[in-house]
């Protein structure tokens, strides 16, 4: 393995850890667990940054690993399907948004799309696990919270992207 590839792998592992810490810190903030399913989605900052730095496939891999470990640490085994489905759908949607509308959308719009995808995946997972369609009534409130927090997360990601000279680091 050459030095560039090892550097890339190391930084990807580091970003997985950063995402984990953000997810863990967020779960300790009581204000964001007060609304069922509502969250800030801080770990999504890392996912947005990863899509730009390492490409969608790597970002997806990191998001799956991060959400799997993070949900076991923060919410227990029962929360794994919610967290992982949310991470997968939101990362795929943000990847596609970046690929096909990256010229027009900044990270803010991408963050909003990712949050909406995350909310939809969680409600879909809950409706499958509970076998009930009425859980979809949660979605509008989640989307309102998710749109606001997604824009905030996108703004944070945009700032990280602008200030990190990743091409220099990976040289």
């Amino acid at each position: 393995m050459n030095i560039k590839a090892s550097k890339k792998l190391t930084i990807m592992a580091l970003f997985t850890a950063v995402g984990l810490v953000l997810q863990f810190v967020e779960s300790m903030l009581p204000i964001f667990t007060a609304i069922p399913g509502g969250k800030l989605g801080l770990a999504n900052i890392v996912s947005i940054v990863n899509i730009s730095f390492f490409g969608g496939a790597n970002a997806l891999l990191i998001a799956v690993i991060r959400s799997f470990i993070g949900s076991i640490l923060c919410g227990g085994v029962m929360s794994v399907p919610y967290s992982v489905s949310g991470a997968v759908l939101s990362t795929v949607v943000m990847w596609l948004a970046k690929k096909y509308a990256g010229g027009r959308l900044s990270s803010i719009g991408i963050g909003v799309l990712g949050a909406a995808a995350h909310n939809t995946a969680q409600v879909l997972t809950a409706s499958i696990i509970f076998g009930s369609v009425y859980i979809w009534t949660y979605l509008p409130v989640l989307i309102i919270i998710g749109t606001l927090s997604g824009a905030l997360v996108g703004f944070a990601a945009e700032t990280v992207l602008r200030k990190t000279p990743i091409t220099k680091i990976l040289k």
Binding site: S27, T33, A34, I35, P36, G37, C74, G75, G76, M78, S79, Y82, A101, R104, L105, S106, I108, G109, V112, L113, A116, A126, I129, F130, G131, S132, V133, Y134, I135, T137, Y138, L139, P140, V141, I143, I144, G146, T147, A151, G154, F155, E158
Partner: protein, 125 residues
């Protein structure tokens, strides 16, 4: 810093969510509540008629997944205590309109208010 497309996406989701909330209140929540149904892991655990509850009643829901203390009354239903880590069901507060639900995902508990003559409780067996 927000582009035009960003503003469009943000406004789209906010407006869609607001319209969905209006629709829910007009069409989904409007029926007169006729029963409060507590389910565990998709199976009906208990069912109450809110009109017959002159006093609030506390129900301990225990299963292999965990423990929830539910209060049902003529006003609706809420969760008072839960063994799950995030307590999002407790934070949900009171539900009072038909077709509203509280779920406790870790404990697989759901509480739903059934409305009108709709006797299908929306739970798959």
């Amino acid at each position: 810093m927000m582009t035009r497309a960003d503003r469009f996406v943000t406004a789209f989701f906010l407006l869609a969510a607001v319209f969905a909330l209006i629709f829910l209140n007009l069409a989904v929540y409007s029926a007169e509540p006729s029963a409060i149904v507590i389910s565990v892991d998709g199976r009906e655990y208990a069912r109450y008629n809110p009109d017959e509850l002159s006093e609030p009643r506390r129900i301990e829901v225990r299963s292999e997944y965990g423990y929830n203390l539910v209060e049902v009354s003529s006003e609706g239903a809420r969760v008072l205590e839960a063994s799950c880590p995030d307590k999002s069901d407790v934070h949900s507060g009171m539900i009072s309109k038909s077709n509203q639900v509280i779920i406790c995902a870790p404990n697989r508990v759901s509480i739903r208010i059934v409305g009108g003559s709709d006797d299908v409780d929306g739970v798959a067996y």
